[in-house]
Symmetry: C2
Subunit: 214 residues, 2 copies
């Protein structure tokens, strides 16, 4: 296998959907899957699929396609989903508790091991088997549970203060579901998630499809 | 004001984050905001911000910037968030109920007016003031409530069957949170949302930042 290649964010974002298609093929007992089949399933160009999958280092055979088992393993490896990615949720509100119960994450190596919330009524409660702790317990708990990722689902007005606390407690990555751009040291990875983005595209596409270019 | 311009999906996806920054400036009493300030706030290139905002038809003045009130109105208008976008949630599970309670949507013209679930124990219940109905009531309810968008949060194994039902009931757009690519007539807009995509990028960036290109 060749060494890992540089990948763009759009490529990485598409890998999970490829994984679904390839895993379905595996469940159907298929040993090989072609880039064309994956492309058709997802409404993409075959050349795009082949280019994206090249980052895994797995090479398809002409007319046969990619070896299913190896390709699945290589995608997991590339995404670092083959390791235990331990995470905490900060903000046990609607979105936070929903993410705790989102089973897809478990299958992808993301293990939510604790939640934190300032609300005393929530502390000690469990949501989908995840216990809620006080913010003051964060430093000790993060160390004990060896969690490197924080999923940030607090109200936007609290986002920066909570991010500062997370940094102080030694967090390595923050998945930011708030509306705020948070400021952290360069050593901390921040990934922003905005549910309004998808809604924005849907809204323009359904009302004025001619306005949206590729 | 010039007529609406063609916009790419990445441009449309960035507009909601611009809106947050510009609305904050408005709350601080500012009349103008420069592309450079927006860019700094979001960690983007000023040229990108100016190019993106051009789709709204609002032109910034050199050294003064964009008129805040007009720019906010123009973004709302461009995204069709100035109208009532009535939606239903299909699948009142963890994610579905969380989305019903996601207040940000309300501010952006997305009004969730009903939920549907096959589980009899959920029917008649309310989550965040949204009532859950049986799937069999969908055709009548959609017409009565004049909802054009379905937010699909059913288990992936049910996604296509429910999408077929939605199409039969005359839905115009489906915001698909399942793992499945659903097949619908060309007249129905489908926007796929995959929470694993953001996690994939986070995972690679935190573990192997050198692998991720721009």
């Amino acid at each position: 296998m060749s060494k890992p290649k540089l990948a763009s964010q759009p490529t990485i974002k598409r890998l999970p959907s490829y994984l679904h298609v390839i895993e379905n093929a595996q469940q159907e007992g298929k040993e090989f899957i072609s880039g064309t089949v994956i492309a058709e399933e997802l409404g993409l160009e075959p050349i795009q699929v082949r280019k994206d999958l090249a980052v895994t280092g797995i090479v398809g055979k002409p007319r046969i396609g990619f070896p299913v088992d190896n390709l699945i393993k290589a995608i997991y490896r590339f995404l670092r989903w083959d390791q235990d990615n331990r995470a905490i949720v900060v903000g046990a509100g609607n979105l936070g508790t929903a993410l705790m119960g989102y089973r897809e994450f478990n299958r992808r190596g993301l293990r939510i091991v604790a939640a934190f919330d300032p609300d005393k009524r929530k502390i000690g409660k469990q949501f989908h088997d995840t216990e809620v702790f006080a913010l003051g317990q964060m430093a000790a708990k993060l160390k004990q549970l060896n969690a490197a990722i924080a999923i940030l689902t607090v109200p936007s007005s609290h986002a920066q203060a909570v991010a500062d606390l997370l940094v102080k407690c030694g967090i390595r990555a923050i998945w930011n579901f708030t509306n705020v751009k948070i400021r952290v040291p360069d050593t901390v990875t921040v990934q922003k998630e905005d549910l309004s983005s998808g809604y924005a595209v849907l809204s323009v596409r359904m009302n004025l499809p001619a306005l949206v270019s590729k």
